[in-house]
Symmetry: C2
Subunit: 160 residues, 2 copies
Amino acid sequence: MEDRADYIRESIDFLHRFLVKSIQKHAEEHGLTVPQLRVIAQVLVNKQITIKHLTQNLRMTQSTVSDIVERLSAKGILLKTPNPKDKRSVIISVSEEVLNLIKDHSNEPVKRAVRDVLSLLTPEEQGTVEQGMRLLMKAVTEKMEKDGMGQMESFDEPFH
Amino acid sequence: MEDRADYIRESIDFLHRFLVKSIQKHAEEHGLTVPQLRVIAQVLVNKQITIKHLTQNLRMTQSTVSDIVERLSAKGILLKTPNPKDKRSVIISVSEEVLNLIKDHSNEPVKRAVRDVLSLLTPEEQGTVEQGMRLLMKAVTEKMEKDGMGQMESFDEPFH
DNA sequence: GTACGATAAATCGCACCCGATATATCTTAT
DNA sequence: ATAAGATATATCGGGTGCGATTTATCGTAC
């Protein structure tokens, strides 16, 4: 049990770093950082989006998003226009010029990386991976409910 | 495949955040941050350690470690003494006073969290989780070799 | 209409994270 | 012994991430 818990803990850490590395290479090709690329991707997907929704979708605090958007705006990558419906709010969009340069989504390299990884396994093995992951996720969710850790409830359950 | 890759990617992200949260609560009880607690734990385990080894063990850059150690030193938690064997180096240790206050290791709360999670599953389910994790790790390692991503080779393979 | 509560985003201060640089020191080659 | 290469750590500058605070604005209750 002890060794198994250690293994799982370290694996999660390792896998996470692997995913971050996958997206980092892509970001650097565009002279951006990973968080910047994630923000841009969200703006691309939504065409127009507010700081608030970026905050929710990206699971960052509003202050972090504000800073990142500000720097991307200064770089001419993102546009900030006042929201006519609410003067407290701003609309974030991608400038037309940049739109043609960045046709990719932030998750694409990560998706490709995970897909490549899975393609190295047999369908049966893939099933085991997925099953194990579901069991672990279920157990974690259960523990969180027991502990009253409701702060991560914003996780979008896949396959909803 | 597409949905499965998405699920696995998001699960890894979620699980990672869960682990971080687990240690965060513990850190806050001591008025510390997670990175600080990790550094302190390494110093506790090794009694005396250099910045260089902290850097390697914690998988941070030397500049990050230097900053953290500096702040912990300013708080009186860590001690920095010149290394008599090498004037470029410093020995990091825990002050005697703090030694009595912090008898815990940084990984304990995380270990406990993962153990608690696993205890919610049957032994058979635990086996599936571990098996899936091993398959995934094997596939990721394989892909990294194909891509020449040797930079993460510092991962200590468990059960060696 | 007015007051109050809630909200959106900018900003601040702190800590962390990184790569690059600088300085002093050690190791190796000649 | 000397010079060159390698190394340990502090520091710098830029970016990220957070919680707290501020200011303006919106929504609701009366």
